[in-house]
Amino acid sequence: MGADSAAGRGVIRRAVAGQRRDVVAGSLLGACHQIGEALVPVLIGIVVDRAVVRPDGGALTLWLVVLAVVYTLLSYGFRFGARAGERAAEQAAHRLRLDVLRRVLAPHGGAEAGRPPGALVNVATEDARRVGAVNMALTLGVAAVVGVVAGAVLLLRASVPLGLLVLVGAPVLMALGHFLARPLEHRSEAEQEQAAHASGVAADLVAGVRVLKGLRAERAAVARYRATSRASRDANVRAARAAALQTGLMLTLTGSFIALVALVGGRLVLSGSIGLGALVSAVGLALFLPGPISVLAWVGAELAKGRASAARIADVLAAPGETTGGSAEPTVPAPGELRLNGLGHAGLDALDLTVRPGEHLGLVVTDPADAATLLHCLARRCDPDRGSVELDGVPLTELAPAALRSALLVAEHDAQLFDGTLLENVTAAAPAGTDPHPAMDAAAVDEVAATLPGGAHGRIGERGSSLSGGQRQRVALARALAADRAVLVVHDPTTAVDAATEARIAAGIRRARTGRTTVLVTSSPALLAATDRVVLVDGGTVAAEAPHEDLVRDHPVYRTAVLT
């Protein structure tokens, strides 16, 4: 934790240093604002004292002009100070957001380990925002300190005893309020956390409304929601009661404090040691000072939140990669020979396999976990415990992951599509100027385009949400084919595609990848029948290899794996 918070402090330091001009400007201008705010009640006192008590038109005009100047000063100070502070906050958050995004997308990966996407997005948005907000908190904090000091100077100039009373009393008052409210605050936070749950449950039920309808479970869902909603309501009422109590408490404390200041001030005026104006100013300042003091308390809370967020950001930025090392580039153009030498990792054991350049190989792995492990090793999402994988004679561990993936593409079963047009998705990974149509034809994406409003130029929605599962698979396959890598490894590309289309795709892949090394990790008989050779991996090692039809005829394990 110590190291973590040190790294977190580094994140904050960089966030502040990167915006130091705005932070300094914001602090100075904010200080102007605070001084102005402190001066307003003092000036009200002076007007009463110099112009009203013994009516004097000249003095009134003079002091109203001074008041106008002070107003201009505080208004512009506030406006430009807050703008600088907000800009510093937003810019710092923007930079941090991109830092997090770059780290997540870095070729050696690893940032996602143990963090679901939602949590990482939270780090990139909320945590980045909180660390950025430290800049704003700093400017406001500096300004508030200046405000308190200005109030103190003004008070002490008017009257030392009255000044001391307010200066000591105001923080004591704040502390007392804070101390009395603390148990309430804790309770309220816990309550609110529980209450936030209700809106989440509602959104969740609505998101699953089709499933509920299919299940005819609307009534059960409504009953459940009602219970959650009621619990949330009760929690919120309790939280609101605590907050109301806190508000009432502060009102009573502040009011009593003002009464005390008025009493002491009144006696001082009567004893002749201060003027009437000083009393009015003191009352006004007693009302003003809790403002900047509570800003300071708020700044403290913001800084604490910023530190916690910074530690999380630092954690992500420093996450260890999935693999380390490797800087070599594969030969260009890569002939595309893939060789597994005694590969052992997780469930895989002494797996030997050679895929010849240009070969179309079917790979049937009986255990889905083994298939996943194998794909991870090929994409260098992990380095094998034993043995090696070689591309054109170079072990993958010596290759830079990004460079490797320029030559070898592992198109995973659950590969994701991205918001944009159908065509943009198909050509996303393709070399510039590639004609997308052969790939689209091979993956039967032309049929998908026909159903999409706008055809190939129609948008497919976030993660391709306006397409069906089978349509998404086809677009993902077309993207992999259009990428035109020296080696293409495709995992189960047609599980949600109907049989007729699957047969068309089997022929399409063969056509689109003629002369290019292609490995189909699948148990679809239609796809396997279109390969040159099929390797059966059972129990983590090679169990048989032959053309599909021979294996179907001769190998019972294969028959079970493929045809049932």
């Binding site: 009203v52 009134l60 907000e86 449950v201 609101a240 009567l270 993660r463 239609a526 179907v552």
Partner: protein, 651 residues
């Protein structure tokens, strides 16, 4: 997570938004049961504010005592009164705020419960027409905005408005000329408020959109990081992220500038009012109309208005966007109360309305009412299912459960809109206990037929008899549903695994749940979860992969225990090896039920009692797997294509 295959939002027919008058009426109805709470809450807050207004005159009194040079003992009474005021103000404010909060929370709970209830009971085709995005946006965005307004803006606004009104009244009590002086600030404030709200509402809406877009883009990119890295799309996606982030930052800065400009203008108003009140004090004191203390109290009153005025004005845009959100929520809660309008959708003449046996009798021009005659060219269903013995023909449009058929659709046609026909006069009968596999290319109408058989979708024309009849919108009654539809759309409900399962049968015991999980081969992994059945799953909880989520859906099916189950590509989301396991689970879940299974893997067809082949919305073949495989029809061609070889041995 997944969104079903309905295309694009262009054609989406959004859910209605209530008018302002209707929203107000709905709000009154929502508040009515708690009128007493509302009145006492406001009353106590008014009392608190009035009491608080005694502070300035009391301070003025002190000033007068001092200015007149009276004895120090005269200070005691106003000071004691100040303390008493502070105490009473504290207590009444606490009470008032608590009551207002309780009122707000109660009304809010009532509103969101009504909303969720209506939303979940919307007819499925209405949901499809609206698209899921609209409803989701309302349940997240609009509910949050209204909640936020009720929770923070409402009490603040109530106190501020009371403080402003009563303070102005108090100024008038001191001397009406103080009020007139103070009102000089109002024109500037009103103009400022109008200037601000006009810009703020659209700007903040844009900002929310930009933040949402950024969030979605990050979620998409980060969620798909493996794909991004694997396809070397890192740079493009970093650029996209930077672009969205920059847009959000720009909009935030624009709204910051707006708020700062707003405060700048309010400072002008403050100065005008304060100067005017001071000048009024100067004149009034000079003319002997008021005391110095009164003039001081007036100035302090005005100074104390700064906070409430700024708060009330800056909350105006919150209030406005909350009102807009409320109108969108009321639009949905009102839906079920009025007859559902069906704009632009061809209405089938004679389509049986729930609860009505006679045809509606309003034939539309250009549409021929399909009647119960057997259709030419339609192949007779083969296999052990005896076609419905002309039951639909003899009693057309009547919902008569035939003892011979678990479910029967007759001459059903469906179109999702004019010119978008999906099914053409399809007839299909399932005998009790029969398992029928529905096969065909994408777009052949399999899912639509499945939804109609499941009673989730009303066909444009034709009749449905059996347990699903009349169930289009009806949720399960006591005793559980008679038909359940499971699609490839998986959704794991947030909460414990047990809660998720109990949606299907709320009174199920833990043993029932375990038994259901065991039936679909899911008990092993479920028991191995960190907290077993009590493990929190779904969004934010333990993540289940697609295959497990689908097993969960099948376990729910087992718990719901319907006589008829419809599975629509319920095994498609898993990889091929996972699909096999899922098919086993599905087979177990369907044991003892009548089942219609939309099959994408032909192994499901092999296992079925009968295979029905759908092509372009028509049944083209029907019979057991072996028979169709050996015939020279479309199924045989499909089988050859799927098994990948003419030489493939018969399993």
């Amino acid at each position: 997570m997944t969104t079903p295959p309905h295309t694009a939002d262009e054609g989406a027919e959004l859910l209605p938004v209530a008018t302002a008058a209707r929203t107000r009426a709905a709000l009154r109805t929502l508040v009515r049961p708690d009128r007493g709470l509302a009145l006492t809450g406001i009353g106590v807050l008014v009392a608190a504010t009035v009491i608080g207004l005694l502070v300035q005159p009391l301070l003025g009194r002190i000033v007068d005592v001092v200015a007149d040079g009276r004895p120090a003992g005269d200070l005691t009474l106003p000071v004691v009164l100040l303390i008493a005021v502070a105490a009473v103000q504290g207590v009444t404010t606490t009470l008032g705020l608590t009551r207002v909060a309780r009122l707000g929370e109660t009304v809010l709970a009532r509103l969101r419960e009504q909303f969720v209830e209506r939303a979940l009971n919307l007819p499925a085709d209405r949901l499809e027409r609206a698209g899921s995005g609209d409803l989701t946006a309302r349940v997240t965005g609009d509910v949050a905005r209204v909640t936020e307004a009720v929770r923070s803006a409402l009490p603040e606004m109530a106190r501020s408005v009371l403080a402003i009104g009563l303070t102005l009244g108090a100024l008038a009590l001191l001397d009406v000329r103080f009020l007139l002086a103070a009102l000089l600030a109002v024109p500037v404030q009103l103009l400022t408020a109008r200037w601000y709200v006009r810009r703020a509402v659209t700007l903040y809406a844009d900002q929310r959109v930009a933040n949402g877009a950024q969030q979605q883009q990050l979620l998409e990119t980060i969620g798909g990081a493996v794909t991004v890295r694997g396809h070397r799309l890192e740079e493009r996606h970093t650029e996209r992220g930077a672009d969205r982030s920059r847009k959000a930052v720009d909009l935030t800065m624009r709204s910051v500038n707006l708020v700062l400009g707003f405060y700048g203008r309010l400072h002008i108003a403050e100065y005008i009012g304060l100067a005017a009140v001071l000048i009024a004090g100067f004149w009034l004191v000079r003319d002997g109309a008021v005391s110095i203390g009164t003039a001081t109290a007036a100035a302090l009153y005005f100074h104390s208005l700064f906070g409430p005025v700024n708060a009330a004005l800056v909350l105006l845009d919150d209030a406005q966007s909350a009102a807009a959100g409320l109108a969108r929520l009321v639009g949905v809660t009102d839906l079920a109360e009025q007859p559902e309008p069906k704009p632009g959708k061809p209405e089938a003449a004679g389509r049986p309305e729930p609860g009505r046996l006679e045809p509606a009798g309003k034939p539309e021009p250009g549409r021929r009412e399909p009647d119960g005659e057997p259709l030419p060219g339609e192949p007779e269903p083969a296999g052990k299912a005896t076609p419905g013995k002309a039951a639909p023909a003899s009693v057309p449009r009547q919902r008569v459960a035939s003892p011979e058929a678990a479910v029967s659709v007759h001459a059903v046609s469906h179109a999702y809109g004019p010119g978008r026909p999906v099914l053409h006069e399809v007839s299909l009968t399932l005998a009790p206990g029969e398992h029928v596999a529905l096969v065909g290319a994408s777009g052949a109408g399999k899912s639509t037929l499945a939804r109609i058989v499941a009673g989730v979708q009303q066909p444009t024309a034709g009749t449905v008899t059996g347990p699903t009849a009349g169930t289009v919108t009806a949720p399960a009654g006591p005793g559980g549903p008679s038909v359940v539809l499971v699609t490839q759309e998986v959704h794991v409900f947030t909460g414990t695994l047990a809660d998720d399962l109990r949606l299907a049968r709320p009174d199920a015991t833990d043993d029932d749940l375990r038994a259901a999980l065991a039936t679909v081969d899911a008990l092993d992994w479920a028991a191995a979860l960190p907290d077993g059945l009590a493990t929190v799953v779904g969004e934010g909880g333990h993540r289940l992969d697609a295959a497990r989520a689908q097993q969960l859906a099948l376990a729910r099916l087992v718990l719901a225990d319907p006589a008829l189950a419809v599975l629509d590509e319920a095994t498609a989301e898993a990889g091929s090896a996972g699909a096999r396991a899922l098919e086993r689970s599905a087979g177990a879940a369907l044991t003892g039920r009548t089942a219609l299974v939309v099959a994408h893997r032909l192994t499901q067809a092999v296992a079925a009692d009968r295979v029905v082949v759908l092509e372009a919305g028509r049944v083209v073949e029907s019979g057991p797997h072996e028979m169709l495989r050996d015939a020279d029809g479309p199924y045989a061609a499909l089988w050859r294509a799927w098994s990948g070889s003419r030489a493939a041995p018969h399993p």
